[in-house]
């Protein structure tokens, strides 16, 4: 394995997983059985020809391997790092039945990193079509759609409300897991293919909805950035953060370097992070790097956590203490947080998602001594722009309703990524963006 030791890495924000060397990659690729009916391809939400690219890696043809990956996935250096491979390609790898599955994610990352370091070649771009397409949001969905649309020859403008592109990849996922130069390089490629990125544009405000709808086609990829709060007492005390705020202060604004950078973040001695997903793991590990003793509070069991396996494993190595089957009921404090009131949960019958539904145990209340609380209990679709577009149909959870081509209730408006699905994954965001881009290309060709 190629992880930096926990004792050193908790003092910095440099990448934890150092990736494979060329020798390691070739050896790993050589293990692949090259199945006639490869299950891994079916496990990949964007259907990368996995055996084909692995065969090239085994031969040392890294450039060809990269080309094959990028036929289906413009952002392989990102996906190789953050996809939940254990429930996708690697989860169905036939080798996993007897020994360990091929490390497909690590190989994908290897070829992407190799290509970036040796100068990426751009896919061919078709002749200009004269059609204008607006993409709203520069997260994985927006960037993926912009790449496919630019490749088809359309004039693509990507609008982003923040001062940096990348969406969650930039403001949410910390650099020790997703180095920012990797994100920048992947976005740079899309720009080199001809897409224009306009930052500091909050569409709906800086660009009125009518001007947006005047484009020949529109792709909405505004994500699910609205943080949920639990609604427990004490939630607005100084020292209580949403994971989004805490992570944004550090990842986007570099508060860990305050006062060299101007944005501050609170430093606490003992931090409780509430949640069991990737967001909770990231918040916990950032708090750890800012010097705190960190408790992760999750209401179900560890095996029910939705986070990637690797993140759970890394968090534990870094000394994060897991308090599972525990639910917070109140935050205590007067001028600042002094404690978190919790109750133990017992696991009852399975719910609709196949996970046991937790029930509070009477008399099990206890107070955890902490001076900061970070809530990572989920986010929902950004309501701002979609509520300003008349006639845009939305589901009960605020998501934009789309058909299988990604088309919304307005014929020339498409949507994909978290705004359509609710908070999901990078690869699902990309998969839905590819479908929508194909739908837009078809519509513009036929029109």
């Amino acid at each position: 394995m190629s992880d930096r030791p926990a004792a050193t890495r908790v003092h910095d924000f440099a990448e934890v997983d150092q990736g494979l060397t060329a020798e390691e990659a070739i050896a790993e690729a050589a293990r692949c059985l090259q199945c006639k009916k490869p299950l891994c391809v079916g496990g990949c939400p964007v259907c990368i020809d996995i055996p084909a690219f692995i065969a090239e890696v085994a031969e040392g043809n890294f450039a060809e391997a990269a080309r094959l990956v990028k036929e289906q996935n413009m952002l392989p250096a990102i996906c190789g790092r953050v996809c939940p491979q254990e429930t996708q390609c690697e989860g169905v790898c036939i080798l996993g039945k007897k020994e360990t599955p091929i490390r497909i994610g690590a190989l994908e990352r290897f070829v992407a990193d190799w290509e970036r370091e040796s100068g990426a070649t751009l896919p061919e771009v078709a002749a200009p079509t004269g059609r204008r397409v607006a993409v709203v949001g520069s997260g994985p969905a927006g960037i993926t759609a912009a790449a496919d649309l630019a490749r088809a020859g359309h004039a693509v403008t990507v609008y982003e409300s923040l001062h940096e592109a990348g969406g969650v990849l930039t403001y949410g996922i910390p650099s020790f897991r997703m180095p920012k130069d990797v994100v920048k390089a992947e976005i740079e490629q899309v720009v080199r293919m001809g897409a224009e990125i306009k930052k500091n544009y909050l569409v709906g405000r800086s660009l009125p909805a009518e001007e947006l709808l005047a484009y020949d086609a529109v792709f909405l990829a505004t994500g699910a950035g609205l943080p949920s709060f639990m609604g427990i007492p004490g939630e607005n005390l100084p020292g209580v953060y949403s994971a989004n705020e805490f992570l944004t202060r550090v990842n986007l604004m570099h508060a860990e370097k305050f006062p060299a950078f101007d944005t501050p973040v609170k430093h606490a001695a003992r931090v409780a992070v509430i949640g069991g997903g990737n967001v909770a793991m990231d918040a916990a590990r950032v708090a750890r790097r800012l010097g705190a003793k960190v408790f992760l509070i999750y209401r179900r069991r560890e095996e029910d956590m939705p986070a990637r396996l690797a993140e759970v494993h890394h968090a534990k190595e870094e000394g994060i203490e897991f308090l599972t089957c525990t639910n917070p009921v109140g935050i205590i404090g007067d001028a600042a947080v002094t404690g978190l009131e919790c109750v133990k949960m017992s696991m009852c019958s399975l719910d609709a998602s196949g996970r046991p539904s937790p029930e509070p145990e009477t008399g099990s209340e206890f107070t955890l001594d902490v001076d900061m609380v970070i809530q990572a209990i989920g986010t929902s679709p950004n309501p701002l722009l979609v509520s300003l577009i008349p006639g845009l149909e939305r589901g009960r959870k605020g998501n934009v309703v789309v058909d299988e081509d990604g088309r919304t209730s307005i014929p020339h408006v498409f949507a994909g990524g978290d705004i359509a699905t609710g908070a999901a994954t990078v690869i699902e965001a990309m998969g839905s963006a590819k479908k929508a881009a194909a739908g837009i290309n078809r519509m513009l060709r036929e029109a």
Binding site: H163, R205, G225, L226, P227, S242, E245, H254, F258, P264
Partner: protein
């Protein structure tokens, strides 16, 4: 990059900037704000849009800490790394009848743009602007021009009414009908002044200024309690029904970073006097 067209100190420590930001200027309405970032190391600071002219917007700010002190050192022709806006919901402009705009200190900067829109919507507009003393009073001429009536107050009596804006507001409420009131200024001033309108049952708006990060509704730093519910001031506001606001919580949340703000301001002051290049020259 966004160019500062003019930079003027209009009163002690109060600065007026006109900034070229077409996408903000073309879409701005009364009551909205923008967020700017000076440079790559800067923080995102919210400032109210105080006027619009073509592709430029005006902001008026008081130098109170690191970022606003740094901003104050910039001059016409300098650039800002980022400006985004307009943010927040516009003021609820409609025909109320008689409206009163109360501005305190640097908060006066937010009032003329609202006064103008209220006037255009057919209202009779009264202005009450107050400051500690005559030298700190800003935008008096502009308010005199847009309002039908203008009252001035100073805490020390050096100009106009000797006392607080709340006193004049109460006096006016006692002898005539006022249908809507806007109060904009420091949190404590908004709290005290809006208490004055409560007994009269007048619709009263305040523009809240909690600490913000993105200003687009994705972090919750700006959350405030209004009518017992948590709201995000950057997207649900910044203007809210004054009589529903939990001001004590707002003021507590504004103090979250007091220690760090002090440190940043001290460090910046050191650098200003040593090299004149602002807090970022040393790296």
């Amino acid at each position: 990059m966004y160019t500062i067209n003019t930079a003027t100190e209009i009163a002690d420590k109060i600065f007026e900037f006109w900034i070229d930001a077409p996408q903000v200027a073309r879409n701005a309405r009364a009551g909205q704000f923008l967020i700017l970032r000076i440079d790559e190391k800067g923080e995102r600071v919210p400032l109210t849009i105080s006027a619009v002219d073509g592709d430029a917007v005006r902001v008026v700010f008081m130098a109170v800490g690191k970022t606003t002190e740094h901003l104050a050192t910039l001059q016409a022709g300098d650039t800002l790394a980022d400006v985004v806006g307009p943010l927040g919901k516009p003021s609820e402009i409609r025909e109320y009848g008689t409206c009163c705009l109360v501005g305190g200190g640097a908060g006066i900067a937010c009032t003329p743009i609202i006064a103008r829109e209220l006037k255009a919507a057919g209202n009779h507009v009264i202005g009450i602007i107050g400051s500690r003393n005559a030298d700190l009073l800003i935008l008096e001429d502009e308010m005199r021009e847009v309002c039908d009536e203008l009252f001035i107050t100073t805490d020390d009596g050096s100009k106009g009414f000797h006392g607080y804006a709340a006193d004049v507001l109460k006096r006016e409420l006692d002898h005539r009908t006022i249908d809507a009131v806007w109060i904009i200024g420091p949190a404590i001033m908004m709290k005290v002044t809006s208490a004055a309108t409560l007994p009269y049952g007048v619709k009263t708006f305040v523009s809240l200024n909690p600490i913000m990060v993105d200003g687009t509704g994705m972090c919750g730093s700006c959350r405030v309690t209004v009518g017992g519910e948590t709201k995000f001031a950057c997207v649900d506001g910044p203007e809210f029904d004054a009589h529903q606001v939990d001001f004590a919580e707002l003021m507590q949340r504004q103090r979250i970073y007091t220690d760090q703000e002090k440190l940043a301001a001290e460090k910046f002051a050191e650098h200003v006097c040593r090299c004149g290049e602002g807090g970022h020259c040393h790296e």
